[in-house]
Subunit: 483 residues, 3 copies
């Protein structure tokens, strides 16, 4: 196929029915821009590919170049004058014997379909071979295929005529393989459509039939050639793609608590024996280790989680690496290059950003760790805040092995807390703490006897409330008036 076929992807359309004023071609499906499903398929088959771009071409090109660098070429269709016109724009690029044409919005097409199309095309020697499908869903937008003896015609069914749909239930999937010589001979015979004034590729099929040239078809399941024109069709395509991904991981020994309610990108890897909870999102380049548990409603993006880790429910993890047996959540938020050592713990309502924790280090409750480099066996007390930002700049905090940070501490960066140091609860630490030292920065406690009663009564009096509501101290020591 390599040396005799080249591909043209029609990617210039306006995505009108998408209604977002943005090209649909870069909408992600399971984490990958729609257009890349086709460009990667053709790339994988080694087929020289050209995209005809137009509407928001910068966005489309950017997505394609990010994946393919320079291996795919672009040509611009300046005016939206139909698929036939788009094809004409590429005429000077036809260097192979056969030209494969497809729309940019059929992301579910498989290698098998292209193979079958090619084999049938070559075997039959037909100038045109194209993909058709039995449309059991009665989607009215597709051109209907009418076969009569050896001739094949396509009738645009835009008039929403159920009768036509029922009688002609095969649709044109918009994937064609043309012999180049046929195209050269006939492309200029396409006439503008009476209603729209546009030029349609489908005319070439009618032209071929008119000229008694053989037109061949390959019939494939509709789900494989669904076009994505609306938000609803985008969802349908993504559901199909996602179901494939999830079934494949089930076969590898992953238990999903709710396979119908889990969101996994095409680029994710999951180890056997992993248990994935309800509603979990595994997105981007995420890897989940073997026998690791991801609790319900957790979202993991571009992160690597080691084996036998436990991510409890309602945790959000982005761009992070957790080593084996780490224990995270519920309600943990780790992002921007958080690195957890093995058996380390990030607990409830703890946020970690750009921080590294060594092995067996724990931050179990209500803490913020920002720009910190923390050793092993460190204990971060609940309510600890690492103040990495002074209003203008961000600074680093270093906490060495085996240090103990008391609850509700504030650590003001830049700061180094050395090994085995101990920070007393409620301290605001602004200076480095030496190895094994105790740092304390808080006031001594004073208990003022009965003062709580006085405070309450003071307020009651201030509010002008009846004095019968006043609290009486059980000690009867002080009168209210003395407050």
């Amino acid at each position: 196929m390599l040396n005799v076929v080249q591909a043209i992807i029609l990617a210039a359309g306006k995505s009108r029915r998408f209604k977002t004023d943005r090209t649909k071609l870069i909408e992600p499906i399971c984490g990958q821009p729609m257009i890349l499903y086709q460009t990667k398929l053709l790339d994988h088959l080694g087929i020289l590919t050209t995209l005809v771009v137009g509407y928001q071409k910068e966005l489309v090109q950017e997505s394609v170049i990010k994946e393919h660098e320079n291996s795919i070429s672009f040509i611009q269709q300046f005016e939206q004058k139909g698929t036939g016109d788009a094809l004409k724009c590429t005429r000077h690029l036809w260097i192979r014997d056969h030209i494969l044409i497809m729309n940019g919005d059929v992301p579910l097409v498989t290698e098998t379909i292209i193979d079958e199309l090619y084999t049938h095309h070559i075997d039959s020697g037909a100038p045109i071979t194209f993909v058709i499908s039995h449309d059991t869903y009665q989607v009215s937008e597709y051109g209907r295929v009418l076969k009569s003896g050896l001739t094949v015609r396509i009738i645009e069914a835009k008039n929403d005529d159920r009768k036509i749909q029922d009688e002609m239930c095969c649709i044109n999937a918009g994937i064609y393989l043309f012999r180049k010589d046929f195209l050269i001979d006939f492309i200029d015979k396409i006439m503008p459509n009476e209603l729209t004034g546009e030029y349609y590729i489908t005319d070439l099929i009618n032209i071929a039939s008119d000229n008694n040239l053989l037109v061949q078809t390959v019939n494939v399941p509709f789900d494989r050639v669904r076009g994505v024109n609306t938000q609803e069709e985008l969802w349908t395509a993504e559901q199909i793609k996602r179901a494939e991904i999830i079934k494949a991981w089930m076969l590898e020994g992953v238990r999903f608590m709710a396979p119908h309610n889990v969101y996994i990108d095409h680029s994710v890897i999951i180890g056997k024996g992993a248990v994935i909870g309800v509603g979990v999102h595994l997105l981007g380049k995420t890897e989940i280790g073997e026998y690791t548990t991801v609790g319900s409603f957790s979202i993991i993006i571009n992160s690597i989680i080691g084996n036998k880790a436990i991510i409890k429910s309602h945790s959000v993890i982005e761009d992070s690496v957790f080593h084996q047996e780490s224990l995270v959540g519920p309600f943990a938020y780790c992002h921007r290059d958080t690195i957890l050592g093995s058996k380390s713990v990030i607990g409830a309502f703890v946020e970690s950003k750009n921080s590294k924790l060594g092995d067996m280090t724990k931050a179990k409750h209500l803490s913020y760790l920002g720009d910190a480099c923390i050793g092993s066996m460190v204990n971060i007390g609940g309510g600890t805040i690492i103040a990495n930002h002074d209003g203008q700049d961000k600074h680093k905090t270093i906490i060495n092995n085996n240090a103990y940070i008391g609850v509700n501490s504030s650590l003001v960066a830049p700061l180094t807390i050395e090994q085995d140091a101990f920070v007393a609860a409620g301290s605001t630490i602004t200076e480095n703490v030496p190895t094994g030292a105790l740092a304390i920065a808080r006031s001594r406690q004073i208990n003022k006897p009965e003062y709580a009663y006085r405070l309450k009564n003071k307020k009651i009096l201030k509010n002008g409330i009846n004095s019968s509501l006043l609290f009486e101290s059980p000690f009867k020591a002080s009168s209210v008036s003395s407050v």
Copy 2:
């Protein structure tokens, strides 16, 4: 229709099969009490409407009056003696030529059905026209419609006889249009049911047939006339209603990551290009701006979110207003009149209640903002708590533009922090802070060398553990016995 039809809604029933000891008629469907779907439809058609109420009539009336004020009248059925008896109760109110009767538990009925029923009724001149449906789901509770020549009879299928259901697959949907003169002549002919002693409207159909009077039917899709008698039927009705709402927003250019798992009330508005995550709830009078993103598992109730805002996952927002490009969550909780200026940030584990933040103000981590009025460009450090409650009263806190609140601060209301002021980390602020001042309320840090080792050893000794476990200071400066 306006001047010749009046409507009676039967809303007196006991909701027995609902099993909650509460009337089902006020159960919300997509955020609206079930009964209102019908009252609002009739109101929209300009049809004079009376509700026959009985069981928990206060609850039903309260819901209806809240929506319609005095435009709908009520009449009480004192005893539950069947639909025929309920109809009789309204006899003195019949002032139009035709009486439309429907149950209060068919929330999916559309304008089209009423139109069609009316047109057919008027055109045919029949004394009775009623709605039937082909029950493909074989729901056994419906009366079966038996047509034979011109006569129409209804057979109660309560005996759960599958055979009857198979043969007579059309059911009586319980929506009737009667000529008033027919009703006046025949309503007293309804006899009590042999088994239950109750009077049924369905008898009027059999009576008409017995008297060789024309009975007409209008056949509509079953999904439109589903009755809601059980929790499961309530769910089904809500699923149908919700699917309509979601499909409509998809056509407007909203991307739902999981349209099958999103919960949107009928009163919500969503801008084009918005992206709505998995499991999101958009409830009450909520508006979502254009190109705004709502992350998975977020719940937004009665709130207005501006354009291009980003609500990250797991956020809960109630009765709040966010201006454009605000950035919220994950794990944010904004409620009771929180107002966010444009480009302001509420981050992870931050709760805001009855607080206003100006433009570009940030509270990024683990804070509670209660009853605060905060200016623009303010930075609230992580762990900040605004103490709005002193044990008896609530007070306001004012923080002016460009102020900087250090981490783990406690701000004790009533309090004003002026523009450009700086509160040092870990401070408890009880007095106002002037413009540009630094407020500090914490102790100086003391480092006690090697004290951490001594503390540990003291505990080890106290626990009576073998002294070989004692920590040795790397400085070897102090002996344990001296602690």
Copy 3:
């Protein structure tokens, strides 16, 4: 049935297609290990039961013994030589007249099926009666049943031959009732399979037919006899089981906002009028009171929630008891023996562990309550952390009735705060606080005028930025150079 039937459950298999290197038999389905669905059914029917174990027999036995103690016996199949061989291993245990044999992986089998099988077996007097089903799903793994006159044969369809499946659409469900005398006579006639060398029970059916012995079948719905061999089949079985559980609770008057997206174990109890939100998990031995609301995305495990309680969204509750009208969440995390008194409140971003709160006590924001015993009417200010761990040991904190803890307090255990005491905001409390006393442990606030401007300018100068960026104090009191 009791005295004439005994059961053999085949539970020795390798779970190869499960791909987790662990026996599938203990995978939970709606919270119960798969194997227990059958052992509990047989136990309930009073049938003497033996499990043939092999692969990971310790795990299987442990699960069974935990439920049944010593009422079920085990026998080990040392080599995996097929179901026929497994049956042979049990020969010395045959003490009843009829032997019921089933695989351990058909958790959806009901009492009705066993009853029907038994009745048919006894009535017909056949030596073999077994369960068949019409496989509408065309699952290729099942042996196909071929009836011809009185003979019955089973054809293994492992060759994935669609034609065989279409023609012989009845499958062998693997549930047999044998007369003991038949088994004794014929068990040694089973020959090893030509391909696998293993011995199959299915051979006995062919052998019976060869000997002109009557073979009887009982036809049941496929969903009841589905085997669980893959992750996907496990999910299917769980979906069926869960739908049963949820439908049953709906009939009891529980409103589920999304019955299709809620996860309830078989052991859960829910009161009428309860409202269960989207995605909620109710797991283990959980009880939900009447008219209690559980908000979306909340997870409740092994906990008892009283009547009229409100659990808001995104809350995680494990091993806890909440009394009536308690108000919890959103974003609450209560675990390990948290006990809440009636009308008590645990608010947003609050974690409670092994703590008891009295009636009407509140901890509304960003707190950690660990190992605390808290009385009634206590108010715990936002940001309070109870430091129960001193680096080595855990200690208790006692807070008596009506005490008031100011915001951002740190309470260092062991500690007692007596009744009516008041802890000032931002205090670190290390010593007991007497009744009615005010405890304060913080520094007095100092405001340094214009210092905030100086700090900013200092940083700007340090960063070497153009001095035109320097802040000018509105008081123009101090020059920058003097900083």
